[in-house]
């Protein structure tokens, strides 16, 4: 009887052990996926399955712009049989090139979102598909929202070495070089990545959020001290701020005397202020 109980407990322990191990593995998998969704802590684009890993979207601060691929102007056919030559180089704005196709399931969300939003305000948007020989203009006409510039150009896919669709390339019109490229699951995701990467590429402004700023308490304290000193007649360059040249000590008011008595001495001419 006792042996049977011990055996059953052993089996239960083994089963529990397997369950715990399985839960831990699942938890690790969830963490890994979350890390991937968070872009692994980098600001570059991420790729969907089957699409080559892209370069990071923004060069490191100070990186030579010449290290980025040279961009190309776009020429091809429109959806209505029109001929299009669009300038990407030597223009004062960035151009966002979104490479899509009619048959790719991952592109469907891009087509839908293009109807309601633009990835980068101030930039020009061009949707690039393969040429009519390799694409279905009729299907693209169904997919393309009104007001979206679609250029059918296999040459552009070749020029920019696009590994698959969906794929986004941002071209700096002034430098004529690619600013960033990559893929994603939706236009929203890429828009956010472009925004973050664009901000990363800029030198931080003095008042930029996240920059080193003086704590509010310090600022208030300094204002209070300045106010007291100015009320006592002590401004920048006042000799009381520099101490006695011989002793290198700062004169202090005697106990019971206020600062304005110290400040009553005339300033020393020719002495430079430290601030």
């Amino acid at each position: 009887m006792m042996t049977a109980i011990v055996a059953i407990q052993g089996v239960i322990l083994i089963v529990l052990g397997v369950l715990v191990t399985g839960l831990l593995r699942a938890y690790a998998s969830v963490l890994r996926r979350l890390h991937d969704l968070d872009n692994g802590g980098t600001s570059g684009f991420r790729t969907t399955e089957g699409v080559a890993t892209p370069r990071v979207v923004a060069p490191e601060p100070g990186a030579d712009a010449a290290t980025w691929p040279v961009a190309h102007d776009i020429s091809g056919a429109g959806l209505a049989g029109d001929l299009i030559a669009a300038r990407v180089l030597g223009v004062p704005h960035d151009t966002v090139l979104i490479f899509l196709s009619s048959g790719c399931s991952a592109c469907q969300l891009f087509w839908e979102q293009l109807g309601t939003r633009r990835p980068a305000p101030g930039s020009r948007l061009l949707v690039i598909t393969k040429s009519p020989e390799e694409e279905s203009p009729a299907a693209l006409r169904q997919l393309s929202p009104p007001g979206v510039d679609v250029v059918m150009s296999s040459a552009a896919w070749s020029d920019y070495r696009v590994p698959g669709s969906p794929y986004v390339i941002v071209v700096n019109g002034r430098t004529g070089r690619v600013r960033g490229e990559g893929s994603g699951t939706s236009l929203d995701q890429l828009t956010e990545l472009m925004r973050v990467a664009g901000a990363d590429a800029q030198p931080p402004a003095a008042s930029a959020p996240g920059g080193v700023r003086k704590p509010r308490a310090d600022r208030e304290r300094e204002v209070d001290v300045d106010r007291v000193l100015l009320a006592a007649g002590i401004g920048p360059g006042h000799p009381s701020l520099y101490g006695d040249p011989g002793t290198d000590e700062v004169p202090r008011p005697a106990p019971g005397r206020s600062l304005d008595l110290v400040a009553a001495e005339p300033p020393h001419p020719g002495r430079e202020a430290r601030r």
Binding site: S75, I84, A85, G90, V148, D149
Partner: protein
């Protein structure tokens, strides 16, 4: 930067640096754009033009980014062009116009600064000036319509417009 050439509908243009172009022909309208349906919430109703209209080739050339939606005479584009920008449109008309006095000029004309004026604009916008010239080239009745972003830049801009017109060929 390399020179880009676009060709279609009998037009060939070698685009200089900084210029882009479109050659297109609107689809033949299949419904009438009438006072009854012009207020339709459906944006496709009457969007192609007037019933019975026979669209012909249109060429748009500009030294700024052309928007996807444009009128034949540049509406949609001239509103966003800068002071130093130029917009050129070549609009083809039907063969019934061939031989008429309006299209009596033979050959693609060049523009002169004194020809420009705000009254020639399809849509008057502050500072802009333009010119509209009718002619026949390779037996095709055409209209050349040019808009310049600033009337103070007519001399230099008309030179640049003529430089790109030198690069346009029209086949019969």
């Amino acid at each position: 930067m390399s020179e880009t050439t676009i060709a279609g509908y009998g037009f060939t243009i070698r685009l200089p640096d900084g210029w882009e172009g479109r050659i297109f022909r609107r689809p033949t309208p299949t419904d009438a754009f009438t006072p009854a349906n012009r207020n339709s919430p459906d944006p496709d109703v009457g969007a192609d033009g007037w019933l019975g209209e026979r669209p012909r080739a249109v060429v748009h050339l500009a030294d700024f980014a052309l928007p996807p939606q444009r009128g034949d005479y540049g509406s949609g584009a001239v509103e966003i062009m800068g002071r130093l920008n130029c917009f050129v449109s070549l609009v083809e008309f039907g063969s019934e116009c061939r031989g008429t006095a309006l299209y009596g000029t033979v050959g693609l004309p060049r523009v002169r600064p004194e020809q420009f004026g705000p009254n020639a604009l399809a849509r008057r916008l502050p500072g802009q000036t333009g010119v509209q010239l009718f002619f026949t080239e390779s037996s095709r009745p055409l209209c050349l319509y040019v808009v310049i972003g600033s009337d103070r830049e007519v001399a230099s801009s008309s030179t640049r417009v003529n430089q790109i017109l030198d690069r346009v060929t029209v086949a019969a």
